[in-house]
């Protein structure tokens, strides 16, 4: 995916994340669209590209928020990298595999985020952090994977045919 297009997608995801997604929040939990875009791209492109796109996606989000700059960058770098590693070892053409990878990569990214909060001096109870936030967010985000994975996969297929 060309970087400018990826950046436009990120800004669109951010605007949706701060406004429209409030409506579809389940028990207060919103899906993480940026994580979803990063993980699926990482899954299809490989660990290096996944880590790079994860870092870019996260840093854009951090700059948008204007605080704790790097928090999302590192957690999404980890998620993108893991998705890339999974993509090298697993069958890529299956939506269920992509959904599972999204769940595990997003969970790992959110876990890194949680650990970084300690580094920043923010102590969040494990019950609330893991069971009320990280796990539901990873599930919700991965449930959206089947809806956009096909599009991204086809895009990469067409591009590889063209070049």
């Amino acid at each position: 995916m060309p970087l400018p297009f990826f950046l436009i997608l990120l800004v669109a995801a951010l605007l949706l994340q701060t406004s429209v997604l409030e409506v579809v929040a389940v028990a207060g939990v919103k899906p993480d669209l940026i994580m979803l875009v990063v993980v699926l791209n990482g899954f299809l492109l490989g660990p290096r590209e996944g880590a790079f796109l994860g870092y870019i996606g996260g840093i854009v989000e951090d700059l948008f928020l204007g605080e704790y700059i790097g928090l999302n960058a590192i957690s999404k770098l980890a998620a993108g990298y893991l998705a890339g590693v999974a993509g090298e070892r697993l069958y890529k053409e299956n939506i269920m595999v992509a959904t599972g990878v999204t769940f595990f990569s997003a969970s790992a990214g959110l876990l890194v985020n949680y650990l970084l909060l300690f580094y920043l001096g923010l102590h969040v109870s494990p019950y609330y952090a893991l069971l009320r936030m990280a796990l539901p967010t990873a599930i919700y985000t991965s449930l959206l994977a089947p809806f956009i994975f096909g599009r991204i996969f086809r895009y990469f297929q067409v591009r590889s045919r063209d070049f």
């Binding site: 028990a27 580094y119 001096g121 009320r132």
Partner: protein, 286 residues
């Protein structure tokens, strides 16, 4: 390890180290919004406001297909007519609900006129993630909003203003893990600190309650007025459960805030507190 791999690893380590340092440097301080950040927010605010309005309309429109599901036997024309009327009713209900909410806020404002100067504001955006709980309001420094002003609804405390730009401001909700509110349990006058849990949970908790204090489910927590940010006596929430802290010396209790943090649409900003301002009975105490 090859030379290329070592170089990549070195680059990664440097990148992570620099990012970790940047993270520390950018820990938010009260009243810290750069001019660039302020402009950025002002520019994005109309887009966020528009999208929020659109999504609220969409939420009401989505209920329509569900209500139409059982009407399979009806004619197409009738269905369209029902759809049109349903749309109209939904829209009218939305106006009605908005009217009721605003009337409630206005009544509350009139009741509280001897205690506070209140400014009505609408929520135009929320924190994009689930960890933190902040909202952006459509009032800024040009409306007289300043840092650390208290934000509430007629049900109870919402949070405090942390950053202000010209046209909007950001509010740290009491459910944000960075929030701390000096509070006390209304019935027993037991003091404690209400801190946030995690943004998406919509819950807060009161910590450092002495072990011998009488704390029970259903008790009301109000602000204590200590710490000078929040006026005394604002209803915070109701105790949902009580448990022991891990050290064993204190108890803590989960609190369900009176103001539903996940459904905030309009709020009130306390722009001025008159001396001896204290709310005696909590609203939304059902």
């Amino acid at each position: 390890m090859g030379w290329v791999t070592a170089k990549r690893l070195f680059f990664l380590v440097v990148l992570v180290a620099v990012t970790l340092a940047a993270m520390r440097v950018t820990i938010p301080e009260p009243a810290r919004l750069t001019p660039l950040g302020s402009k950025f927010r002002d520019v994005l605010a109309p887009a966020q406001s528009g999208l929020t309005w659109l999504s609220r309309q969409a939420r009401h429109a989505v209920t329509l297909p569900v209500s139409m599901y059982g009407a399979a036997g009806r004619s197409q024309a009738l269905e369209q007519e029902v759809e049109r009327l349903q749309n109209e009713i939904t829209q009218l209900n939305e106006y009605k609900a908005e009217n009721q909410r605003l009337t409630g806020l206005l009544n509350y404002k009139q009741v509280m006129v001897s205690k506070y100067d209140l400014l009505v504001a609408s929520v135009i955006a929320r924190d994009p993630g689930n960890w933190f709980a902040t909202v952006t309001l459509n009032r800024g420094s040009r409306d007289g909003v300043r840092d650390n002003m208290t934000v509430l609804t007629q049900q109870g405390l919402v949070g405090r203003v942390i950053t202000v730009s010209n046209t909007n401001c950001e509010v740290l909700l009491i459910t944000d893990p960075r929030s701390g509110v000096g509070s006390l349990i209304q019935e027993t006058r037991t003091p404690g600190i209400v801190e946030g849990t995690v943004g998406s949970s919509g819950m807060a908790r009161i910590i450092h309650i002495p072990n011998d204090a009488q704390v029970a489910e259903g008790q009301v927590v109000v602000t204590s007025g200590l710490g000078s940010i929040f006026p005394k006596g604002i209803p915070v929430g109701r105790i949902a459960s009580v448990s022991a802290e891990s050290a064993g010396l204190f108890k803590r209790a989960d609190i369900l805030p009176f103001a539903g943090m996940n459904q905030l649409e309009e709020v009130l900003i306390v722009t001025k507190v008159f001396p001896e301002a204290t709310i005696t009975s909590p609203a939304g105490g059902g």
